[in-house]
C-alpha cells in the first residue's frame, strides 16, 4: 500500500481536468476512469463571469483529493506564490510543483525546482515535484523535503510514452521506498500499464484522455490499464530470456517417427 504524504489513493491514476470538449464530458470521463486524484490549476478570475466557481463545484463532487499545479510558472518566485494561492483556494497542502525551464519541451528547470521545493516544504507544503529521471536531482529533491517524486515519461502533452526506460528503471531501483508517479508524456493505456508494471506507484496524465476521440471510453481504458499494470507488478513478472523455452511439457509426448 503506497501512501502519498499519508494518504492512500483509491486508484493509482491521477487525471487532469483540462482540454476536454466540455465540462460535462470532463466530469463523465473522470468518473469513468475511477481516478484517485484530480489535478487542477489556478487562473485569473473575473468578478463578472466567475468561471472558476462553476468548475470548482464540478470537481469537488468527484470526492477525491485534488492536486493543484503550478503549470506555466518559469521562476521560483512565480511557482512559490502560485503554490501559496493554491493552498488557500483548494484548502490542501499538496502541490504539483512545476518550474518550467524550456518553452518548447516544457522540460523542468531542475535547479529552480529544487530551490522552490525547499522553500515550500519549509512552509508546510507537501510537494509533488515534476522532475526528470536524473538521480542527482531526485536526491536533492528528497533532501529538500519532498516525500514523493514525479519523473516525466516524455514531454508534457507529447503522448510519446516512457522515453527513457533504462533511466526510469534505475530511478525506481535507486529509491525503492519513495512513492513515485510517472507524470507527463503518457499517450496510451499501454504506457500507463508499463509504468505500473515497472513498479511506479501511480501515473498522472491529462491530454491522452482529454484529446481522445472518445474521452469517456479512453478514461475507462486508462483506469483498467493502471489496475492491470499494478496487479502484474504485484504478481512478480517472469524474467525475460533470449532463447525459447517450451511451455508444453515434452515428457510423455507420443513417439510418432
Amino acid at each position: 500500500m503506497t501512501l502519498f504524504y499519508g494518504t492512500e489513493l483509491t486508484s493509482p491514476l491521477m487525471l487532469g481536468t483540462a482540454l476536454y470538449p466540455s465540462p460535462a464530458i470532463m466530469a463523465e470521463a473522470f468518473k469513468a476512469s475511477g481516478a484517485g486524484v484530480a489535478t487542477v490549476s489556478l487562473r485569473r478570475e473575473s468578478g463578472a463571469d466567475r468561471a472558476g466557481q462553476d468548475f470548482w463545484s464540478l470537481v469537488s463532487d468527484f470526492g477525491v483529493p485534488v492536486l493543484p499545479n503550478t503549470a506555466g510558472c518559469h521562476t521560483v518566485k512565480e511557482a512559490v506564490t502560485t503554490a501559496q494561492m493554491a493552498r488557500e483556494v483548494f484548502g490542501t497542502p499538496w502541490i504539483k510543483l512545476e518550474v518550467i525551464g524550456h518553452t518548447d519541451t516544457l522540460q523542468p528547470d531542475v535547479f529552480g525546482l529544487v530551490e522552490a521545493a525547499k522553500i515550500l516544504t519549509e512552509d508546510g507544503f507537501e510537494v509533488f515535484p515534476y522532475t526528470t529521471e536524473d538521480l542527482i536531482v531526485a536526491e536533492r529533491l528528497l533532501n529538500a523535503g519532498c516525500k514523493v517524486l514525479m519523473p516525466w515519461g516524455a514531454p508534457i502533452g507529447s503522448g510519446l510514452g516512457l522515453n527513457n526506460l533504462h533511466g526510469l528503471r534505475t530511478m525506481r531501483a535507486q529509491f525503492p521506498d519513495v512513492p513515485m508517479v510517472i507524470d507527463a508524456g503518457i499517450g496510451l493505456p499501454s504506457h500507463a500499464a508499463q509504468a505500473m508494471e515497472m513498479g511506479f506507484d501511480a501515473v498522472l496524465l491529462n491530454t491522452a484522455v482529454a484529446k481522445a476521440g472518445d474521452p469517456v471510453a479512453m478514461a475507462r481504458a486508462f483506469g483498467l490499464a493502471v489496475e492491470a499494470g499494478k496487479a502484474a507488478y504485484d504478481a512478480d513478472p517472469m524474467e525475460p530470456r533470449d532463447m525459447a523455452s517450451p511451455s508444453t511439457p515434452l515428457i510423455g509426448k507420443a513417439f510418432l517417427e
Binding site: 487532469g16 503549470a71 496524465l205
Partner: protein, 65 residues
C-alpha cells in the same frame, strides 16, 4: 484610485483589499490574491492597503493537468 486588476486598469474607491474585492464583484467567490507579485492571505486582506498603480492578481480554480 487606479489599480491594475488581472492586467486591466480598474478604478476602485476603497483603499483596502478586502473591501475593494467586494466592490470588484468577488464577494463570496473562492479566490486567492497577490498584490505586486506577493501572496496576500485572505486573513490579511482587510489590513492590506491599496495604492495607486498597484498590480492585483485575483485567481480561482481552473482546469489543470
Amino acid at each position: 484610485m487606479k489599480i491594475i486588476l488581472n492586467g486591466e486598469a480598474r478604478d476602485v474607491a476603497q483603499a483596502n483589499l478586502a473591501v475593494a474585492l467586494e466592490e470588484l464583484g468577488y464577494s463570496t467567490a473562492k479566490i486567492a490574491t497577490a498584490l505586486n507579485g506577493n501572496f496576500v492571505p485572505a486573513s490579511a486582506r482587510a489590513s492590506t492597503p491599496l495604492s495607486d498603480g498597484d498590480l492585483l492578481e485575483v485567481v480561482a480554480p481552473m482546469q489543470g493537468g
